[in-house]
């Protein structure tokens, strides 16, 4: 059997929820969740900086937990709830408090790590609304920012957590 025949056989239908919307798709089983989001759904806010679970720019939230979408197969996301940066705004035109704080504290420069960074911080605050600076550092230690925004990211996260009830 050639590789082509092999891959054509390996297609699967998946149903999942992305940013609150039900999605149904037939996909190549080798496709990663990051590729699926970016190439199939056009959700290019999720970045791929290394494609091997090192840089964190592809971080999305799957069933409440932050995951590297470059190392989750799209088929593994079947039946699950995915939240990407595009779904972070609570309603159109109204930024999530974390997004506001990131802008206010200048917690971004080039912006490429920002979507993944925001998803990691969001997942942290969802499970621990009042983290310490060390908790935040640990939550984002899998997200590289090369521009040097870590101090401001930590500030932004603390600022939001302080405002949370």
């Amino acid at each position: 059997m050639t590789e082509d025949e092999n891959s054509s056989k390996c297609r699967k239908q998946i149903f999942l929820t992305v940013n609150g919307k039900n999605v149904k798709a037939e996909i190549d089983c080798r496709m990663t969740l990051a590729e699926f989001l970016r190439e199939e759904l056009g959700l290019t806010g999720t970045k791929v900086g290394c494609n091997r679970a090192e840089c964190g720019s592809c971080t999305v939230i799957m069933d409440g937990k932050p995951v590297y979408s470059c190392t989750v197969l799209a088929v593994e996301a079947g039946g699950r709830k995915i939240l990407t940066i595009e779904g972070l705004m609570e309603e159109e035109g109204k930024l999530h408090p974390l997004q506001e704080a990131f802008i206010e504290e200048d917690a971004l420069q080039c912006g490429y790590c920002t979507p993944g960074m925001l998803m990691s911080v969001k997942a942290l605050l969802d499970r621990n609304p009042h983290p310490t600076a060390d908790d935040i550092k640990n939550a984002i230690d899998g997200n590289f920012c090369r521009c040097g925004s870590y101090p401001n990211i930590i500030k932004a996260a603390i600022e939001v957590s302080e405002k949370m009830a």
Partner: protein, 783 residues
């Protein structure tokens, strides 16, 4: 009030004559919303209809000759639309920065060099096609270590143009000298010598290079990941034989540059060529390992220093011999043949210097601009050695630096950047336009608690030892000539729109925000009333590539001039409405008013209605080249407090204080972010980042982000950043560049702090735990 000497061609704008309303405000960056919502489209996010996907076949050897190349199997693979290689692109040259280079050479001079490129219907087909290209290499012995390479004669070339720039730089010694070095050492009471090495390092931008090229039969549009649109437009046109007006380059967002993306590189030329061959848009995106192999790295350096001083701390002589591994390619604008020695020559006052810098071509990866390119290695060696000297003299390191403080520079910028003379013997003393380094040194050391240096030893707990160290730096600013000329246009439209047109990229430094603020201040409106047209060669005048802390000092004066010129024209329309003369008017917060009677005022926008709808007001600005005197520089000092674990060799940085003289901060919030970024870069260079090569095969071993260790959130300490503000009448509101060089002093400050903690000098970067443990053991053995 200092008289304006703004670096512009033509008429000097009149002084502002009022307090600032926009400059100095910590405004948020303008593209924040796009970046936090994921709406910001970077080049690799674009998906055009009918787009093809490109991939590049790379040579797995550092030095080899291609003896057979057969692409036929790849070409007939269904879904493959084009394959390019040396076989079908004979004589085609792409550009390596400004330098034409064979697009696909026959002789490969570094691992990862491009051998062929394919465009296919999808990325899987493209990948499969690469595997079908039949290529045979004659593997040659690579040149790796610079010192070893220098011991042997250069190997015979197997083709022309193998090592671009080698005729100017390979094995050439550049010298800066002044005074009499022998006399200087004779006068010295204390002489200290030592050798320092710095490693291969990478930019590690989170976005890898990605490019989409679209040829429509007449015009080529390139959405690229580069720091300059205009420089790249020109070289695309030259490479592809197109009139420049038929090439448009767009960069709306850039995922980190740090020099690696200073100019377009081969992938973009391949994407363009493949698009021209297929008539379809082509996207090529580098993988992370390709990024490590095929982008330019920082030079690895070995620097011998010998310094002499009188008992009172006065420096009498500096001798240096610096050896730089250039890798496989360098040319004007990407190898700085006197940069190490220029910094050694000018950071501190010393009457007698003899400094040599030798570059050697090898088969390690190409080199090029990397945040503080050769400054960081130079400053590491120099500022480490200054502490050695201070120790030998029994002086406080801060006091020793202040003792040798200087307000002038000993050669012009020309000598520093032009390789026109192998020996520079220039004793001309050029004053700095402004210099606040002494204040920076005092601020940084005060903030860290410098006086604790002596007592920290007594505070040792368990296996932990604490120490404090410092270092300073300088870097020159702007040039103002090709390819860094800078122009700006400000248009005021009938409907009240104010448009600033600038041909620069916002690489994350906040360039669009800063220039909008300069224009807004000059026009007397709020910054958010300015629309900025940038990052696109369409509808913008020529702008410099955004590297070398370049944008603000190069373009700032032009933006100010353009805005002032537009304002003057608008005032002419406002004058009759206010029953006054144009020159009697002033503006701020969106109001135009009579200077002597501010209550006589009118809305800025109300005056815009008088602008001819067919012909908006246009003000234009143009940067003049740097004069021969004075010298323009920025300065800074950093202090670090570290904790060394003498059992594990782990160095933890507890705090860094950084004080900088950038002139005046247009936007302090953005300036401080730049300092954080520099310190992070410096920490990585000091402690963990290192490109490692297999000594036998010469292959790069560190080709992912686990092996190449950049700092994470856990590695970054508290950073206290300070901005000292100084008047510099040559720049827009005294603003110079903040971006590039804030990493330069960090490694030396950390290294000097480690000495303070455990009494061991580390001269080889990075200072990893294995080196620390080894040194502690040796010290114990030695008693």
């Amino acid at each position: 009030m200092v008289e304006s000497k703004l670096l512009v061609k033509g008429t000097l704008p009149p002084p502002l004559e009022r307090e600032f309303t926009v400059i100095g405000k910590p405004l948020n960056r303008r593209d924040g919303v796009e970046k936090v919502t994921g709406r910001a489209k970077y080049s690799g996010d674009l998906k055009l209809p009918n787009m093809l996907y490109g991939m590049i076949l790379r040579c797995p050897y550092p030095r080899a000759k291609i003896v057979k190349l057969d692409t036929r199997k790849a070409e007939i693979l269904p879904g493959v639309k084009a394959v390019i290689s040396k076989e079908n692109t004979k004589g085609w040259r792409t550009y390596w920065y400004k330098v034409p280079q064979l697009a696909f050479p026959e002789c490969v001079t570094y691992e990862g060099q491009e051998v062929a490129a394919v465009a296919a219907e999808d990325i899987d087909i493209a990948r499969k096609a690469l595997g079908l290209i039949d290529v045979e290499y004659e593997v040659l012995t690579p040149m790796l270590d610079a010192e070893e390479t220098l011991k042997n004669l250069p190997p015979p070339r197997c083709a022309d143009e193998e090592y671009p720039g080698s005729e100017i730089f390979d094995r050439k010694t550049y010298v800066i000298k002044r005074g009499d070095i022998e006399k200087g050492f004779k006068e010295a009471d204390v002489i200290v010598e030592d050798t320092y090495t710095t490693q291969v390092s990478h930019h590690g931008t989170i976005q890898t290079r990605a490019c989409v090229a679209d040829w429509d039969g007449k015009d080529l549009t390139v959405w690229d990941a580069i720091q300059g649109v205009w420089n790249s437009k020109e070289t695309f046109a030259q490479s592809l034989g197109l009139p420049p007006e038929n090439v448009r380059v767009i960069v709306k967002y850039l995922g980190g540059g740090f020099g690696s993306k200073a100019w377009s590189q081969r992938i973009s030329y391949y994407a363009a060529k493949l698009s021209m061959l297929t008539g379809r848009p082509v996207r090529i995106e580098r993988t992370r390992w390709e990024e490590f192999l095929a982008h330019t790295r920082r030079w690895d350096c070995k620097m011998y220093l010998k310094m002499g001083a009188k008992r009172d701390g006065t420096l009498t002589a500096i001798y240096q011999k610096a050896l730089v591994n250039i890798g496989a390619a360098a040319l004007e604008e990407n190898y700085y043949c006197v940069q190490i020695i220029w910094h050694t020559s000018n950071l501190h006052a010393c009457p007698n210097v003899y400094l040599e810098q030798i570059g050697v071509y090898t088969n390690r990866q190409m080199t090029g601009p990397t945040r503080s390119p050769l400054n960081m290695p130079a400053i590491f060696a120099l500022e480490s050695h200054m502490d050695r000297m201070a120790e030998a003299l029994g002086m406080d390191p801060l006091e020793f630096r202040l003792k040798n403080y200087t307000n002038y520079c000993c050669i012009g910028t020309d000598a520093a950047i032009l390789p026109d003379a192998a020996v520079s013997d220039n004793e001309i003393r050029i004053p700095y336009s402004s210099k606040n380094l002494d204040e920076c040194m005092k601020l940084a050391t005060q903030a860290i608690g410098w006086e604790r240096r002596k007592s920290l030893k007594n505070e040792a707990q368990g296996t932990k030892r604490r120490g404090i160290g410092m270092a300073s730096y300088l870097v020159f600013q702007g040039v103002g000539f090709r390819p860094y000329t800078a122009y700006a246009d400000v248009d005021i439209h009938h409907d009240g729109t104010i448009a600033l047109h600038i041909g620069v990229v916002d690489i994350g430094g906040g360039q669009q925000t800063i220039f909008a603020m300069i224009a807004a201040e000059e026009l007397g409106v709020h910054a958010d009333e300015i629309s900025v047209i940038f990052g696109d060669t369409k509808d913008t005048p020529y702008g410099p590539s955004c590297h070398g802390s370049r944008a603000t000092p190069e373009l700032g004066p032009a933006v100010l001039q353009a805005a002032a010129e537009a304002r003057e024209q608008l005032f002419e329309l406002a004058a009759p409405m206010l029953d006054a003369e144009g020159e009697e008017l002033q503006s701020k917060y969106g109001q135009i008013y009579v200077k002597s009677a501010p209550s006589r005022s009118i809305h800025f926008k109300a005056v815009c209605f008088k602008v001819n709808p067919e012909k908006p007001i246009r003000g234009s600005g143009s940067r003049a080249p740097n004069p021969n005197s004075p010298m323009f520089s920025t300065f800074g000092a950093q202090a670090a407090e570290v904790e060394v674990d003498i059992e594990t060799g782990q160095v933890d940085i507890l705090r860094v204080t950084a004080a900088n003289d950038f002139g005046r901060a247009i936007n302090p919030k953005l300036c401080i972010s730049q300092i954080y970024g520099g310190v992070e870069f410096g920490i990585g260079f000091a402690l963990s980042e290192e490109g490692l090569y297999d000594p036998k095969t010469g292959k790069l071993l560190t080709r992912n982000l686990h092996q190449y260790r950049m700092p994470t959130s856990l590695d970054i300490p508290q950073i206290d950043a300070f901005l000292t503000e100084a008047e510099d009448p040559y720049f827009a509101y005294s603003a110079k560049g903040a971006g590039e060089n804030t990493n330069a002093p960090t490694p030396a400050a950390i290294r000097n702090a480690i000495y303070n903690a455990i009494g061991i000098w580390f001269n080889d970067l990075p200072i990893t735990p294995d080196k620390v443990i080894q040194a502690i053991r040796e010290k114990k053995k030695g008693g």
